[in-house]
């Protein structure tokens, strides 16, 4: 007699709990509520940019480098175009710079390596919570974009990537605000060696004051735009389209 009753109570308790949780989720995931909560993102971005326009991220020494820097997101892009580039060691790879620029560019890896460069040992912070320290060498984005000449109406740089993650191409957006920050570089080397495939070969972004998902790997094209709502899911990045904040500074 007691066992069925206990089992019944347990089942009733479990379904009550499930109903309660799904009720909670209806509130916590309500689009209007989420939109109101997202006002904090605007506040974070405005306050942080007001306090530190050109603040530099801390740089470390070689002794601080994390021995096995974690590679996240795409680590071996399945895309045939990209695999063909890997097979020929990126000989025919070009970085296209176009959109709202005066002089569109198409640069080979050697041309990018000849541009004003910077090496920085910085902390990479994943949105999941972990951190790794690595050394990055790359062309400073500011001088590269100046070569192309931004049109005044350009507000963001869209970073188009070679990798498909899930079922969408990876992309990111960087505000013009960050283009001339000294630590914003297009990295072709990590810890003194050419960038490996798991870490974004042949070229990836490093914008050190932002979370890992902003550091787009496998770069193919930089497009200067006034707005990004027509690109991808319209939220300004692969993870942004899944609900993450575009600011990514916290």
């Amino acid at each position: 007699m007691t066992l069925p009753r206990r089992a019944w109570l347990k089942a009733a308790g479990a379904s009550l709990a499930a109903a309660f949780l799904s009720g909670c989720d209806q509130i916590t995931e309500n689009p209007g509520v989420v939109k109101a909560l997202s006002s904090a993102e605007v506040l974070n971005r405005r306050v942080q940019r007001l306090l530190g326009r050109s603040a530099l991220a801390r740089e470390f020494t070689r002794a601080d480098i994390t021995p096995n820097f974690k590679a996240n997101g795409s680590t071996d892009p399945p895309d045939a175009d990209y695999q063909a580039l890997v097979a020929e060691n990126f000989a025919s790879w070009r970085l296209v710079v176009d959109g709202l620029v005066e002089r569109p560019l198409s640069l080979s890896l050697d041309q990018i390596r000849a541009l004003p460069a910077r090496t920085q040992i910085t902390r990479h912070d994943c949105v999941e919570g972990w951190s790794c320290i690595g050394e990055w060498t790359g062309a400073r984005l500011g001088p590269l974009i100046d070569m192309a000449g931004l049109k005044p109406e350009a507000k963001h740089i869209v970073l188009h990537c070679a990798d498909t993650l899930g079922d969408a191409k990876y992309y990111e957006t960087l505000d013009v605000f960050d283009v001339h920050h000294p630590q914003t570089i297009l990295a072709y080397a990590m810890n003194g060696a050419p960038l490996t495939v798991p870490h974004g070969a042949p070229l990836r972004l490093r914008a050190e004051r932002y979370l890992g998902y902003k550091q787009a790997k496998y770069l193919m094209r930089l497009e200067a735009v006034a707005a990004f709502d027509h690109i991808g899911g319209g939220k300004g990045g692969y993870w942004e389209d899944q609900g993450y904040d575009r600011y990514g500074g916290i």
């Binding site: 479990a14 709990a17 499930a18 949780l21 799904s22 909670c24 989720d25 916590t28 995931e29 989420v34 109101a36 909560l37 997202s38 006002s39 904090a40 993102e41 506040l43 974070n44 942080q48 306090l51 530190g52 603040a55 530099l56 991220a57 801390r58 470390f60 601080d64 994390t66 096995n68 974690k70 902390r123 912070d125 994943c126 949105v127 999941e128 919570g129 972990w130 951190s131 790794c132 320290i133 050190e208 004051r209 932002y210 979370l211 993870w239 899944q242 609900g243 993450y244 904040d245 500074g249 916290i250």
Partner: protein
Amino acid sequence: MPPPAKVLVRRHSAIVRVTHWTNVISLFFLLLSGLQIFNAHPALYFGQASTFGQPWFATGAYQGHDGRLHGVTMIGRQVFDTTGFLGASQEGRATVSRGFPAWLTIPSHRFLALGRRWHFFFAWVFALNLTLYLASALLNGHLRRDLAPTKSQLAPGHVLHEIWAHLRLKFPKGEEARRYNVLQKGAYLGVVVVLLPAMILSGMTMSPSLDAIFPFLVDLFGGRQSARSIHFITASLIVLFFLVHMVMVVLSGTWNNVRSMVTGRYAIEVEPPPAPALGDAP
């Protein structure tokens, strides 16, 4: 003996009451969305970067010989089976690998992006509320008058006496109940001056943009991963405070305490003057 007379005294100012309840609401959402964020990488480290092989605290799951998912929690080198709560727990009908269970996270299923939205919204509410409370407490004397222990309260004999009285669940009555006892003062001061500010500062230290603006924060906590650990430990201490606080509220008169934090009025019992001695004395 006639019953002691009850007097309603003004205990909590309006600003204390408003900031108290704003704090309750924001800490509720911060805790549950914080556990969602923790679940994205349920391991904690000390230092600047993560030492993936050696977290000091971690939860995880493994498939047992019985084919079921078992949850484990590691603290230092100790490993505990925490199936059903930490590491592996029910989500819908299935047992899944997750840090904290569905009933403790916002939202209940795994959704880091949404957990962050809730967390950062209430982080602002919490920080502005605490700033308002501390600024007013400094300016209007609340901190000095009501929370700072007096010299006599700090005497070791008095502190021991209070601990002994609390252990026997004997709480101050009459005139003594007009002010906080030394244990209350210590607990409240520790929370509003140490734990709550530490929560905000260690949270800020996890932001790469804020670290560029305030590099001393990273040094204060000894690195971003240390800050993440301290954020977690401090949150745990606040939960511990909350549990003790609830027990004390109930033991020392639920209704009187709740009323005092809503209307500001707190009833104390005033001893009547001693009754004249009856005639059976020798």
